[in-house]
């Protein structure tokens, strides 16, 4: 099944990339865009049909490699 993993920086963590984008937007006249936070969307094709089992494996992968739990949070979405 196709599993969606969204990874983003924790709310309190500085996002230099998002801030750089905000500055560019502001310079181009999009001053109303007050904050930008950049995250990652990963699409995983996972073999398996047991949803709880798939979710638990993908969450394990998130903790180990797809996200850095120290500064990032992740969300796993199943179809």
């Amino acid at each position: 099944m196709l599993v969606e993993v969204r990874v983003k920086l924790k709310e309190q963590v500085l996002d230099p990339q998002g801030e750089a984008i905000r500055r560019v937007l502001s310079g181009l006249g999009y001053g109303e865009i007050e904050q930008v936070r950049v995250g990652k969307l990963m699409l995983l094709e996972v073999a398996g049909t047991d949803a709880p089992e798939v979710r638990s494996r993908v969450e394990e992968a998130c903790k180990e490699v797809l996200a850095n739990p120290v500064i990032e949070e992740y969300e796993v979405r199943l179809p």
């Binding site: 920086l9 924790k10 709310e11 309190q12 963590v13 500085l14 996002d15 230099p16 801030e19 750089a20 500055r23 850095n68 120290v70 500064i71």
Partner: protein, 730 residues
């Protein structure tokens, strides 16, 4: 808990303050502080900010000298280079953050030490890193090594300051507490130095740089805490660095200072706005008012507590005369940086802050800074490790021993680390990483600025006094290898908990050893940092007093070589035999961490370093100092894996002590045959032995008439290349 709620003894404990300290706060203030005030006390009275356990001992360092412009107490030390130039340098630890989040922890460590240097008006020109990791098979260790190295590289590379040197070592005592000590060296014109002083009542306080977020709150108290299993709960406090903003800050601040637009300047490092506000005011004997509502906040709803204690990176505090506020804001705007006036200098010795139109806190300076607690912690003098009975060490398979030594991570080539660093941005690097010391030209001159970091923690664990003194001697020798004369020291003293009398005893002995050696070599200590509580679940690290030493070459005429060339004559300047106590040979080959570690023979070291320095400056010889692994390892390094040699040890010496003995000072010197008479004349009166000639592809060592070692240098070099090679794939 609201930011202005009254403090309690329980809250004080949660902030790392003892019952006694809390009672002192109550009596100093004559009232109960609010939560924000308590947080400020906790930060400024933390070990990290107050040096409460170390200060009385640090006074023993020699801190003055004819070249010293500014000693300890400012953001960094300043030493005269001659010809109207000064160098500004400091080393600082970022151990705890790097263990929690290696990439960001190491990166922000680099960012912090850069700010300490450019805040003095100097342009940062060199970065060095002294790293200590655990056993590579320990949990998370390869991840930590990889993260730290990438963090240092990415930050330094983005900000455009070359990383030119440092050292790395591995020992299981760092399994739960790695060390990341970053050193920055800058240069400035002698009349262009600025200080972190908030002087001149009526002057304005300007906030410059990134917005304040909720990151890093209580970093200073975390750094003063022992790790335990619950450390993961403290994780959200990790700060994220932004090297591109830092680059803008460097250029903006140097322009502001160059134009004479600021009175005082300091970065917001550990304990953020709290430490910069209170320290700048205390140094100037003035006070400040702050309007915390004006502090640029990254998130909505930030409280005075958070605004005062956040450790968001890339922020500065400027003190500016009222007339100069507008021009300052102009310059900052041109660099694309946010700057805003947030307060005023007042004559009273206090900091008064308002928030949302009412008073947030009002605190006198004296109890927080100058009269912060000082402890003379109980300590037990360490007992230096004694000699053990060694097995018979003659007629061994020296080749197997040498291979075993070189295959250890301790001797692994650090190339996979420093190849990730930009070593030459700025186009002033003469000698970069991988040599004994780094050497740079001061831009537009022929003045050579050299730097090295050194510490043999194994020796310090066996004998803190002699180990620390030996670290200073090694730094002096390393500088001599690039022709530099030592002019100043910064130190980063990494130890376990000072509340343990045994650890405190290690600290006191190491400080005494450093002080004795710095006095003997006439090198003042001008800046430094103490990192205590480097332990996990009761296990302390090896005492690691890292020495960062800066040297000068008045006029660089040629590039020092660190390898020999075919046909070079090879000499040993110094004793033929070293000692095995505390040596890498005992540790790695025999599995013994045993003493004794000898003291430094200062007179001999001074004389041989002076000669080596002169020969290198004149281009007469290449020099390599004998340290870890002794003569054998020095010879392998000088061969660079390409050119072999044939050396003969006199039949009367002990092969093991000649090949692998340490602590003898001394250098391997190599020179083309026509220069031999000049070399021998220069070394007149010193112990000098001609060992042989460079050439061929093998390292050949004869003991009298018997060949005791014959092995291709390419194979030996390959052993060292393997150790950290996995970093290329990581």
């Amino acid at each position: 808990m609201k930011w202005d709620a009254p403090a309690t003894v329980e809250l004080a404990r949660e902030h790392g303050l003892s019952q006694k300290e809390y009672e002192r706060i109550l009596s100093d203030l004559g009232r109960v502080p609010n939560l924000t005030e308590l947080g400020i006390f906790a930060a400024l009275w933390s070990e990290h900010c107050s040096y409460k356990s170390s200060r009385i001992h640090l006074k023993k360092f020699p801190m003055r000298g004819p070249r010293v412009v500014q000693g300890p107490g400012e953001n960094a030390g300043v030493v005269d280079l001659g010809q109207g130039w000064v160098t500004v340098f400091k080393m600082e630890s970022h151990n705890h953050p790097s263990f929690i989040e290696p990439y960001q922890g190491a990166a922000t460590g680099v960012g912090g030490i850069l700010r300490d240097v450019f805040t003095m008006g100097a342009r940062p020109v060199m970065l060095l890193d002294s790293l200590r990791f655990g056993a590579l098979d320990a949990s998370r260790m390869t991840h930590l090594v990889d993260g730290v190295v990438r963090g240092i590289g990415d930050y330094g590379n983005c900000v455009g300051v070359p990383t030119v040197g440092g050292e790395v070592d591995f020992h299981p005592s760092y399994n739960g507490n790695i060390l990341v000590n970053a050193m920055c060296v800058g240069v400035a014109r002698a009349d262009g130095i600025f200080y972190g002083r908030a002087s001149g009542p009526g002057n304005r306080v300007v906030y410059l740089g990134s917005k304040t977020g909720r990151d890093g709150i209580h970093g200073a108290t975390m750094a003063s805490d022992v790790f335990d299993e619950s450390a993961s709960a403290k994780r959200p406090t990790v700060q994220v660095g932004d090297p591109f903003t830092e680059k803008l800050l460097i250029e903006c601040c140097l322009e502001l200072m160059g134009d004479g637009l600021v009175v005082g300047i300091q970065d917001m490092g550990a304990a953020g706005l709290t430490s910069s506000a209170f320290e700048m005011a205390a140094r100037a004997g003035c006070g400040l008012t702050l309007d915390l509502s004006k502090v640029p906040a990254r998130e909505r709803g930030m409280t005075p507590y958070e605004l005062m204690l956040s450790e968001s990176q890339e922020r500065m505090v400027l003190v500016v005369t009222p007339d100069n506020v507008a021009p300052v804001l102009d310059v900052c705007g041109r660099w694309g940086l946010d700057a805003i006036e947030i307060g005023t200098v007042i004559p009273e010795s206090e900091v008064v802050a308002s928030f949302d139109g009412r008073q947030a806190f009002r605190l006198p300076l004296a109890p927080l800074v100058d009269e912060a607690p000082r402890y003379e912690r109980p300590w037990v003098p360490p007992v230096p490790a004694a000699a053990v009975t060694l097995p018979k060490l003659h007629d061994r398979d020296w080749e197997a021993d040498l291979r075993e030594l070189l295959a250890s991570p301790v001797f692994a080539s650090s190339r996979p680390i420093w190849q990730q660093y930009d070593q030459s941005v700025g186009a002033s690097t003469v000698v970069g990483p991988g040599a004994d010391a780094a050497l740079q030209l001061v831009e537009g001159t022929n003045i050579g600025l050299a730097a090295t970091t050194d510490c043999n923690a194994l020796a310090c664990s066996l004998d803190p006094f002699n180990g620390a003194a030996q670290a200073v001697a090694e730094a002096v020798r390393n500088l001599a290898c690039v022709g530099a004369e030592p002019i100043g020291v910064t130190d980063c003293l990494n130890f376990g908990s000072p509340e343990n009398p045994g650890i405190m005893g290690q600290f006191v002995a190491a400080v005494d050893g450093l002080a004795e050696a710095c006095r003997a070599f006439e090198v003042p200590v001008v800046s430094g940092n103490v990192s205590f509580y480097n332990e996990t679940s009761g296990t302390a690290i090896q005492p690691t007093p890292t020495v960062g030493m800066v040297g000068v070459v008045p006029e660089v005429r040629c590039r020092p070589r660190s390898h020999w060339q075919v046909g070079d004559a090879i000499y040993l300047l110094g004793p033929l035999e070293g000692e095995l106590g505390g040596s890498r040979y005992l540790q790695i080959v025999l599995g013994l961490e045993a003493g004794p570690v000898p003291g430094v023979d200062y007179e001999a070291e001074r004389r041989s370093a002076a000669v080596a320095r002169e020969l290198v400056r004149l281009g007469l010889a290449a020099a390599k100092d004998l340290s870890d692994g002794g003569l054998a390892v020095a010879a392998v390094e000088m061969s660079a894996g390409t050119v072999g040699c044939k050396l003969t040890l006199p039949s009367g010496v002990s092969p093991v002590r000649a090949l692998f003995g340490e602590w003898r000072g001394g250098f391997l010197l190599t020179a083309p045959v026509p220069l031999e008479p000049a070399l021998e004349r220069a070394c007149h009166g010193l112990p000098l032995t001609r060992l042989g000639i460079a050439g061929g592809t093998k390292l050949v060592v004869a003991h009298g008439r018997k060949t005791v070692l014959e092995v291709p240098v390419a194979e030996l070099a390959a052993l060292g290349e393997k150790g950290l090679g996995w970093l290329y794939e990581a």
